[in-house]
């Protein structure tokens, strides 16, 4: 075998709060388009005896939203509405409505049964050795943006505890949101019990000292954790894939939903990208042709990976470890044909010998002794560092996350294990709710969304709700007069990390 190929998929959606909002559509589209098809394909590989293991991270934010029975009922209704809209629409030949009806029906049926237990199905896949479940920072916080060491530590301790609770075992691997790394992250990850993480390639290319194999072998990073780096060439190659990489792929800008449904987009893409013309002129979408195109591109991508592994093996005189990490939502939500691509890619690589899919632990066990280096600060955002989160239009988010964190640290100091003020059971609940609200305010999503034109106001309002709930509870805790109604409201707004203990900030 010339090289090892490690595929890492990170599943995460921004916190949508307790109340219905138009952004619920993200979760629906990801569930129907990505999470269910992805788990289905991993199970098919297992049943077919294909050894193509994948590392998968699922964020506690996402699992909490998928757990919520009220939200699930809403998703169920929305899926049923879409099926009905597809059935009601006049039967226009070649509009692929039956294809969309079937995929929404599959998702609706999954919600009615146990198939929608995505974490449970992932756990079973891990038990069978088909995937490696990575923990994910508690609320997808961008760790380099947390100046307080205790806040960084809390994100990772909460992540480890939630993973143990959810998956009945400790995670060796940690998914760093946005591949965010600075020199404080390694020690905090090691302290929380993690053994390896994934970084952007320039973190190792600019590491001190620069590792001999660059991004193609895990290193022992600051704090003792092992670090894998995304392969820069695969990053570039993958950037040429996606929803507009082939004229047969679905044109995501064309949605027949507003025409046949309740006026809103419904993910009913019935035209294909084509080669020219306006949206109205686009040719009809043909699912079978789109699938064939995705599978052909997967074959080509697999050949490129194998050729690259063979070349690197000669250059480096060792077995290179090629790591490709993506947001899972790329496959199926942002790129309708993504799951077909992924399945063919994994089958093809598993059948070959030059870049067989391997889990990080296998790579660590078979790699030469890891070099000790200090990786450079990095994220996988454009620019390679913090640019997407620190812009004129969205940097205002940061002081609020910091402000809540400082206040939370004060509360933990006042009521924590070394303090004189012992909290009553109601206060204890309020403190735990404050800890969850603080962690949610630290999510990297708010900055990204605040920087986008369409979601900026929703992101601002969502953050303001978290901050307001926190400050209300904090004021009541200061006066030692927690109001049960305010607490219930705050708990409803932060139904995540059920075992969170505020002392994690002490």
């Amino acid at each position: 075998m010339a090289g090892a190929f490690t595929l890492v998929l990170s599943m995460h959606r921004p916190w949508l709060g307790a109340d219905p909002c138009p952004e619920d559509e993200w979760l629906l589209a990801s569930l129907a388009g990505c999470y269910l098809p992805l788990v289905d394909l991993l199970e098919r590989l297992r049943e077919d005896g294909v050894r193509a293991p994948v590392a998968v991270a699922i964020s506690p934010t996402l699992t909490a939203m998928l757990d919520d029975p009220v939200r699930r009922a809403r998703l169920h209704r929305a899926l049923a509405d879409r099926e009905a809209a597809c059935s009601r629409a006049p039967d226009r030949p070649g509009e692929a409505l039956s294809f969309h009806r079937e995929r929404f029906k599959a998702a609706r049926l999954a919600l009615e049964g146990s198939a929608c237990d995505i974490p449970g199905r992932l756990r079973a896949l891990e038990e069978d050795g088909c995937i490696d479940l990575l923990a994910c920072a508690a609320t997808n916080a961008l760790l380099p943006l947390l100046p307080q060491p205790k806040a960084l530590q809390a994100q990772l301790r909460l992540a480890a505890a939630e993973h143990r609770r959810r998956f009945r075992g400790a995670a060796a691997g940690l998914w760093l949101p946005e591949c965010g790394w600075d020199r404080r992250v390694g020690p905090a990850a090691a302290e929380a019990g993690f053994e390896y993480v994934f970084l952007e390639h320039h973190a190792l290319e600019r590491a001190r000292p620069r590792p001999r194999c660059g991004a193609y072998a895990p290193v022992r990073a600051t704090g003792g954790v092992f670090a894998f780096a995304r392969d820069p060439e695969l990053v570039r190659a993958a950037a040429r894939l996606g929803p507009y990489a082939h004229p047969d792929y679905a044109e995501l800008a064309f949605d027949v939903g507003p025409e046949i449904g309740d006026g809103r987009p419904m993910g009913l893409h019935t035209r294909k990208v084509g080669t020219k013309g306006t949206l109205a002129d686009k040719p009809p979408y043909e699912p079978a042709a789109a699938r064939a195109a995705a599978e052909t591109q997967a074959e080509e991508f697999a050949q490129a990976i194998e050729a690259r592994a063979a070349r690197l093996a000669l250059e480096l005189r060792t077995r290179p470890a090629l790591t490709a990490a993506f947001e899972a939502e790329l496959f199926g939500h942002e790129w309708l044909e993504g799951p077909y691509f992924l399945e063919r890619l994994l089958r093809r690589l598993a059948a070959g010998t030059n870049a067989q899919p391997k889990l990080p632990e296998w790579v660590l066990a078979h790699a030469p002794e890891a070099e000790e280096v200090e990786p450079e600060c990095s994220t996988w955002g454009p620019g390679g560092y913090l640019d997407p989160w620190l812009r004129d239009e969205n940097a205002w988010v940061v002081p609020h996350a910091h402000g809540l964190t400082e206040r939370m640290l004060e509360l933990a100091a006042r009521f924590g294990p070394k303090a004189e003020a012992y909290p009553s059971p109601l206060e204890e609940r309020a403190l735990d709710a404050c800890a969850r609200l603080t962690a949610l305010a630290q999510a990297s999503d708010w900055g990204l969304l605040a920087g986008s034109r369409r979601q900026a106001s929703w992101a601002g309002e969502s953050l303001a709700k978290l901050v307001s709930s926190f400050l209300t509870l904090r004021g009541q805790l200061e006066e030692r007069a927690v109001d049960a109604d305010a607490l219930a409201k705050a708990e409803r707004a932060s139904r995540i990390l059920p075992d969170a203990d505020f002392r994690v900030y002490a």
Binding site: W380, G383, G384, Y385, V398, G460
Partner: protein, 155 residues
């Protein structure tokens, strides 16, 4: 996401400008502080919080005091850059050098008198960027074109 490291571009508005924030967010959290966050290998985003009474007192003194940000090397405490700012804006950008550790002071310059420090940031290290990749240590002085206000004071 594609994280190809590119040459750092300046922020869109290096000078502070008002960005509307959603209603319901407090103007501050009651902690005086100056926080410096390196955005990339060149630019640092700063924000600060000052007690409203203190801010009002400074602004109402009637003296001609120039609020300034001083960028200094953490190792030697040597100032390398001074830049005017607006106290009320509570945020600013400052340009620094890759690979070095700095801190920033926010204070008041009074003609002929020592700089009065109001707030000081924690030290922060700038990441390396492509343009200085081959250099083991940057010059301790910023290039002339980056000194926008006045040259560093000698020790």
């Amino acid at each position: 996401m594609d994280a190809e490291f590119r040459r750092s571009l300046p922020p869109l508005h290096p000078e502070p400008h008002a960005v509307p924030q959603p209603a319901g967010l407090p103007p501050g959290y009651g902690h005086e502080k100056l926080v410096a966050l390196p955005r990339d290998s060149r630019w640092v985003w700063l924000y600060w919080e000052m007690a409203p009474a203190k801010l009002a007192r400074i602004l109402g003194q009637g003296k001609i005091l120039q609020p300034e940000l001083h960028l200094a090397l953490a190792e030697t405490r040597k100032p390398v850059k001074e830049q005017g700012c607006y106290l009320e804006a509570s945020t600013a950008w400052i340009e620094a050098l890759p690979g070095e550790t700095f801190y920033v002071e926010l204070g008041l310059a009074d003609f002929g008198r020592p700089f009065t420090v109001l707030l000081r940031s924690e030290p922060f290290r700038m990441p390396w960027g492509d343009e200085l990749r081959e250099r083991t240590r940057p010059s301790l002085e910023l290039p002339d074109e980056l000194k926008r206000v006045k040259p560093p004071k000698s020790e």
